[in-house]
Amino acid sequence: MAPSTILAARRPLLTSIASVSRPSRTTLRPITQSPRLYHCQHTRPSTPTTKTTTPSIPRRKYHSTHQPTPDHEYTNSQTTILTAALRHVPQLGFTRDALTLGARDAGFLDVSVQLLPRGEFDLILFWLASRRGLLRAAVDNGLFRKNGPRELSVEQKTKMLIMERLRMNADVRNQWQDALALMSLPSHVPLSLSELHALSDDILALAGDTSVDASWYTKRLAVSAVYASAEVVLTRDSSPDLAATEAFVERRFEDTQALGDKVGGVKECLGFMGSTALGLGRSWGLKI
C-alpha cells in the first residue's frame, strides 16, 4: 500500500457527514462547542493533504489547540463498514451481527469488524453522528420553509428540529432501547453525553439561537433533557406519525416555559425584597 493511501485511510474523516455541507453559521460560538469534523485538521498538522482532499470544508476562524481530537471519528474503511451495517440495524439492532453483515456487504471479512475497537458502540456513535449530519442537511433543504415563508421563532424551530431528529429514529425504535442500554454503560457514558451535547448544540445553533450568557448552558441542558426523554417515549410510541411523541415534546416545552417563568418570578420577587430591605435600612439611618 502506498504511504499516501495509508495516510488517507488513517486520517479521521467522517466522510458521510463531511459530504453533508455545513449550514452557514454566522454566530460566534464558544470554543467548548466542537464541530467535530474540523479540529483534527488543526491538531494533526502532519497531514498536509487534508486541504486538497477536503476542499469543501471551510476552516474555522478560531479554534483551541488544547482540545483533544474527539475519539469517534472514522477512517474511510470504518465508514464503509458502518454505513453498510446501518442497513441491517432495523432487523438486527445495534449488534455485532449487524456489523458483521455490514463488513461482508462492504467486501470485508467477518474478522474485519476488529477495525472498530468499540464494536456495537461504534455503530451507535456512528448512527448518532450521521443523523446529526442529516439534520443539518434537512435544514439546508428547507425544513423551516415547509410551512410557508413565515419566519419561525427560535423555539418553534427548536421544536421542529427535535421532532425531525426523533423521526429519524422511527425505523430503529424497536432497537433503540438496547442502544440506550449500551450507551448507559459506565464506560460509554462520557461519549454518549458528549454526543447528546453535540446534538442539542447543533439543534440550537441551527435554530438560530444567539445567546452568549448563562442561558447558553441552560438552553442546551433543556434541549438535551427534552430530547433524551422524548427518545425514551418514542421507543414505546405506536401512534400514527409519532403523534404521542410530538404531544410529549409539546408538553415538555410548556413545562420548560413554565419553569422559566417561575424562576423569573422568583428572581423578580427576591429583587424586590432586596431593594425593600435596602430602603428600609437606609430609612433607619444605616450607611448602606
Binding site: 495509508i6 485511510a9 451481527d97 458483521t100 461482508r104 474478522v111 474485519s112 477495525l115 475497537p117
Partner: protein, 313 residues
C-alpha cells in the same frame, strides 16, 4: 566456544540476579556452544536479552531457551504472572471473537466457511485451543480451523501432546506447522483470516520481516493481532514490576524449572521490546490499517494487545 561478550553478558546477568551460591547453570552452555561462531564480524547484530549477538545466532539461542522451558512452560507462566496471563489470554481471544456466528453466504464449500486462523509462536496451543473453544461454544462455528506454527519442534511437541486432551485432536480443525515466521513459503498469499502471535514476537530476530510476512499471508480485510509484554505507563507500578521481573522471575525460574538463564533472557527480552507506540508504527509500516488507538494496555501496560487490519486494495 561462545563469544566472550555473550559469556560476559550472561555471567553479569547471573550475578545481578541475587546471591545464589549454586554453581551457575547456564542454559546455553551446551546448546549455544554447539552454535559454532566463526568469529566473523560481518553479520548484522541483534539483541539477545541485554547481550548483542549476531543475527545468525539469535534464532538458535532462542530455540535453546524454549527447548529448555517447553515442559514447564505453563507452571512457570502461572508463577511469574501470578496467574494473570490466563486472564490476558482469555481477554485476547474474547476480544477477537473468532468464528462466524452467522451462516456463510457462499456456503457450500467448507473451505469458505469459518475462519482460517494462523497462530504463530503458539507451540503449546494455549491460544489455539482457546480460539477453537470460543468459536465452537460461543459462535457455534464448527468450521473455524487453526494452524499452530512454531519454529521450535520441542514446543510444538508439547502442543501436540496437549491437543490429545482436546476435542480437536486429529481433526481438520487443528494442524501444526514448523516454520520460521519471517519466511513461511508453505502458507500461500491472501489465505489467512486471522494471524495471531502471543508472547512470541519479541523473540523474533527480524520483527519487521515477520510483520511483512503476516501482511502477505493475510486475506484483504484480515486481522493481525499480537499480544506482547510492553511498557508500563505508571511509574510506581513500573518500579514494582521491574523489581519483580529482575529479582523474582529468574529466581522462580531457578527454583521451579531449574533454569535461571532462560528466564533471565525472558525478562531482558521484555525490556528490549519496543514501546506500544514504536511497535504500532512498525505494524503501520508493514501496510496495516490501525484501528483506533492501535493498542490496548493490559494491567497498566505490562502486556499490550496490538491490532492491524489489512486493507482491501
Amino acid at each position: 566456544m561462545m563469544s566472550p561478550s555473550v559469556w560476559r553478558g550472561l555471567r553479569h546477568a547471573a550475578r545481578r540476579g541475587g546471591s545464589i551460591s549454586t554453581p551457575y547453570r547456564c542454559f546455553s552452555c551446551t546448546r549455544a556452544a554447539r552454535v559454532e561462531n566463526n568469529k566473523t564480524n560481518d553479520g548484522g547484530m541483534t539483541h539477545f536479552g541485554f547481550t548483542n549477538v549476531r543475527e545468525s545466532e539469535k534464532e538458535s539461542m532462542v530455540g535453546a531457551v524454549f527447548s529448555s522451558v517447553a515442559s514447564s512452560y505453563d507452571n512457570m507462566n502461572d508463577f511469574m504472572s501470578l496467574g494473570i496471563h490466563r486472564l490476558w489470554k482469555d481477554h485476547f481471544v474474547r476480544s477477537l471473537n473468532p468464528g462466524s456466528a452467522l451462516p456463510s453466504r457462499d456456503g457450500t464449500d467448507p473451505a469458505n466457511r469459518g475462519w482460517n486462523i494462523l497462530d504463530i509462536a503458539g507451540g503449546t496451543g494455549d491460544i489455539a485451543f482457546r480460539m477453537l473453544d470460543h468459536a465452537t461454544n460461543i459462535n457455534h462455528d464448527r468450521d473455524t480451523r487453526v494452524t499452530i506454527s512454531d519454529i521450535n519442534p520441542d514446543m510444538l511437541a508439547e502442543g501436540k501432546k496437549r491437543s490429545i486432551q482436546t476435542p480437536y485432536y486429529n481433526t481438520s480443525r487443528l494442524s501444526f506447522l514448523e516454520a520460521n515466521a519471517q519466511e513461511m513459503p508453505s502458507v500461500p498469499d491472501n489465505s489467512v483470516d486471522l494471524y495471531t502471535v502471543v508472547f512470541g514476537i519479541r523473540n523474533f530476530t527480524d520483527k519487521q520481516a515477520a510483520l511483512n510476512e503476516a501482511f502477505r499471508v493475510l486475506k484483504p480485510g484480515g486481522v493481525f493481532a499480537c499480544m506482547e509484554f510492553s511498557k508500563v505507563d505508571n511509574a510506581i507500578l513500573n518500579a514494582l514490576y521491574k523489581q519483580w521481573s529482575f529479582s523474582a522471575i529468574p529466581l522462580i525460574g531457578q527454583l521451579v524449572a531449574g533454569d535461571r538463564g532462560s528466564y533471565q533472557y525472558l525478562v531482558e527480552s521484555i525490556e528490549q521490546f519496543p514501546s506500544q507506540e514504536e511497535f504500532r508504527a512498525m505494524i503501520h509500516k508493514a501496510g496495516f490499517m490501525i484501528p483506533g488507538r492501535g493498542f490496548e494496555n493490559l494491567t497498566g501496560g505490562i502486556a499490550a494487545i496490538h491490532k492491524g487490519v489489512k486493507p482491501l486494495s
